[in-house]
């Protein structure tokens, strides 16, 4: 019998697209939005909405066929998260910094699913639920796009679950409430999902206002030019969160962009070849970057 546990769906509140873990990402909007209001200078801007300071320092731009490879070093002053660990009679709290990160065309950010069951099912019998599906993408450079939809899911019957107060939905249709969505936000960014296996497994594509497509590790322009992410280029914070700040493995002219990271993840090195076929080496030494190893006072409470 094909079953789906409602508890699991509810607990799917925050599921990053690329990271394999369940991680909340709740920092205010960072980066710069096309229609945002900012106080701006050459390399930095301050959001007049939430006070976030955004700094973008260009590292290199490798011209390619239609689609250049751009890599920046970005900072968002409000990009940190409170992390809490349950100890039974108390909690251990600490802050995780994601203030600085490298940024390219392929910086994925995170795609989060959060939804609420508007019509909870009774513990037995046939049931139809309407879900308010909310999906948020923390886009390259830190800004957000949110898509919403109401999805109706029916269950042929309900069974009690050992996990109070949740129940098991038998033969759910659709199998996953995130199957086959086609959504668009007010700024012209779209989200397309496939089907099969639930939110984590289903293919997900993001469409840009200019017609470009980002998904399955590829950024594709309307003309078909592509750059593909190198999954090994992702940075990880000192607390363990994957930042999904990917670099491509090559530009659209086929010139390789090689990458290495030290065993302690403290130093990243990018090597590329310019139009004269001269190699250029860029090194990020994270131990010298303020805010990547913050040690501010830790707070404890219940």
């Amino acid at each position: 019998m094909k079953t789906s546990v409602l508890m699991s769906i509810i607990l799917a509140a925050f599921v990053p697209l690329w990271a394999s873990a369940q991680t909340d990402y709740t920092a205010p909007d960072g980066g710069e939005k096309p229609l945002g209001t900012y106080f701006k200078t050459d390399i930095d801007s301050v959001s007049l909405t939430n006070g976030n300071l955004h700094v973008s320092i260009p590292l290199f731009s490798l011209a390619g066929r239609e689609l250049p490879v751009n890599v920046q070093f970005d900072y968002d002053s409000q990009s940190y998260e409170l992390r809490q660990t349950f100890m039974g009679t108390y909690w251990v709290h600490g802050y995780e910094s994601m203030l600085w990160r490298k940024s390219s065309n392929l910086q994925q950010g995170t795609l989060q699913l959060s939804q609420a069951n508007l019509l909870p099912c009774p513990p037995v019998g046939q049931c139809t639920s309407t879900w308010n599906v909310q999906i948020t993408w923390a886009a390259p450079a830190g800004n957000r796009h949110t898509w919403g939809a109401f999805v109706t899911q029916s269950c042929s019957s309900m069974s009690p679950s050992q996990y109070y107060p949740y129940y098991i939905c038998n033969n759910p249709s659709p199998a996953s409430i995130t199957d086959n969505l086609s959504l668009s936000d007010a700024e012209g960014y779209g989200l397309l999902t496939g089907s099969g296996g639930g939110w984590l497994q289903t293919p997900k594509l993001i469409t840009f206002p200019d017609g470009s497509l980002w998904g399955n590790g590829f950024l594709t322009t309307p003309n078909g030019n592509q750059i593909q992410m190198n999954p090994n280029t992702q940075s990880i914070t000192n607390s363990g969160t994957q930042l999904a700040d990917f670099l491509p493995a090559a530009d659209t002219l086929g010139r390789p962009i090689s990458y290495s990271i030290s065993s302690d993840s403290s130093t990243e090195t990018v090597t590329l070849h310019d139009s004269q076929n001269q190699s250029q080496v860029y090194t990020i030494n994270w131990t010298t970057v303020l805010g990547t190893n913050i040690n501010e006072p830790t707070v404890f409470d219940k």
């Binding site: 607990l11 809490q84 660990t85 349950f86 100890m87 107060p165 190893n293």
Partner: protein, 259 residues
Amino acid sequence: MRRLLITLIVPTVFVVCVATGVAAQAPQSAVQAILARLAPGKTLPDDLIIAGQLTDPSGVVQPFRITTKGKDQVLYETGTGPSHVSTTTSKGNGWTVVGNKFTLLKTYTAMQRLKILPFLDLLAEADTASLQVTDKGPFLIGTIATRLYTLRLPDPTPNARLIGRPFDEQTDFYVDPVSSLVVRSVRLFMAENSMDIRTQVITDFSDYRTVQGFAIPFRIVETSNFAARKPVQALYVIQNVTVNSGVPDSTFAAPGAKK
């Protein structure tokens, strides 16, 4: 040379000689023997209530009470009156109640075992066939020559997990081979809002006393290491232990389900 002899060679020889006593057994048998030492006949209590004083990492001293039933129902309580906080983990679910505020815990948090009583930690699975035991040899903790056993219990239902990440359990137990008492346990706990972030928790047990046959540490020090930050400590001093008093299942029911 004399200092070298005293500080390095003597403890090392001592560790090797003493700790080999337990090492003679197969790891699985050794762990079963440790459980038998802590819980007579390897029989866990039906229920258990421990109470005493907790000094939390911020230095606040307050009363605590922990009520357990079986291996997977625990009620943690601290404070009194308006500052009373209760957290329940029950058969894979968990929630915290502060006044009228009810907060659900993530499944992987709710599945935590009670770590301040070793026989209710992963040692409780000593007879479980799928438990993997590794004998990692002698270790010196302070002046105590211990033997380190790593216990790992693979998630029996990894495919059912939400994001495809199994909830495997693993704990290191440092055991005094002379008394077969657990001196220290070490494990990693996932942060409530990020499975990527692991806090290492070192639990040191001392002042063991026997209560109705069960070896109970009356002094427990927990040291938590969150990422690169300075470690923090909490101290439990147990003052009262009640065994098999007939705690009802309703003690561990969510507020809405309580009669």
